[in-house]
Symmetry: C2
């Protein structure tokens, strides 16, 4: 990719397209005092190398894709539904003690709290639980609903969202996990969030490793 050596003429073409694109091959030929036939191999090479892009009836324009831009393009193709794991949920009434036990048994860092109908009510992290266990609270009696994060403060994602956007939410909102939800509207027109998965920093890290694997 980075080893493309352009000829003087190819460099001139790139310069013209950068400044005047979109531009037709006829217009480029005119500017260089050459025939279209002479230009054709150069335009083919520049297009194949991904430096120029051609659109029918529009002409050539500069794509200027660096390896980094190509990576960004590829990364943004990945969807949450391709990466997400099953959600680990507890009911609102679950005690803090039972929540911690569930966290250890399932080996997750975040629990998703659902109501009796199974819809999203809250999120509770290892950090939240650690804070509680430090205090004087009787963790066998207090339910998770007392210290969980509630709507509208829960940051969620959905199956069709890009993994890039989900990762951005994890970083910007400083959370370790996002519930993956599907929005349903009940008979009264009220929105309810069905929990269909979870996505965490562990999944992003695993994806990073997979992307780094040689094929």
């Amino acid at each position: 990719m980075s080893s493309i050596q352009l000829t003087k003429r190819q460099e001139k073409i790139v310069e013209i397209v950068k400044n005047s694109g979109p531009i037709t091959s006829e217009q480029i030929a005119k500017k260089l005092n050459l025939t279209r036939a002479t230009l054709r191999p150069d335009l083919t090479i520049l297009t194949m190398a991904g430096i120029l892009e051609a659109r029918p009836r529009v002409g050539y324009f500069y794509s200027g894709k660096s390896p980094r831009a190509l990576i960004a393009e590829e990364l943004r193709k990945l969807r949450v539904k391709d990466v997400k794991a099953v959600p680990v949920v507890v009911r609102e009434g679950t005690s803090v003690y039972d929540a911690v036990v569930t966290m250890f048994l399932e080996d997750v860092g975040t629990l998703i709290v659902v109501n009796e109908e199974g819809f999203l009510e809250g999120v509770i992290s290892r950090k939240d639980l650690l804070k509680v266990t430090l205090g004087q609270t009787d963790i066998h009696k207090v339910p998770v609903s007392v210290m969980m994060t509630r709507m509208p403060n829960i940051i969620t994602t959905f199956p069709e969202e890009t993994v890039y956007m989900a990762a951005k939410k994890l970083i910007e909102h400083e959370v370790d996990a996002l519930p993956v939800v599907r929005t349903l509207v009940d008979s009264e027109g009220k929105e309810k969030l069905e929990v269909v998965g979870r996505i965490t920093k562990t999944h992003i890290t695993r994806l990073f490793v997979e992307l780094g694997e040689a094929e």
Copy 2:
């Protein structure tokens, strides 16, 4: 990248190089009953598109780089030293209670435990601390050294290691953070690990977001 349309002849060339590479342009020309001059534009295009690679005095060989292979190549260029953060450390004698407080004050999920000389002694995570606070232990009296992970069980990385390898360690060993260390040898020939940073799943996730940013 993925939009490269090869001609029949270019496809034949790729096939020949795949099967017989490294192979010189003369040998390819002979196999196709063509002159080298006729082949030259095709070989140029295939090389520029990154499908073939040319080495002086060796010939052409098939690189077959897909967008994913290019991503892997780029990702593997990143080093731990480019990403790592400052380490958050406590001394071996620190009480569990003080460790939890440090964790909240510094907002980290893992603390690195060092001895009096400042060398790596242990690692303690939010998960380890949550386990302790659940029990009957007096967290004001018990030091972190009682439940921390010790050498040789600590998974470490070093500044020159690739971020890819560090991420692989995070996933394979199921830890959230790695101490970044430099190995020193003391006057008695004993190895000591100086802690120079930490790298976590949060750093990998942030890097993922940066790689996904459009330029």
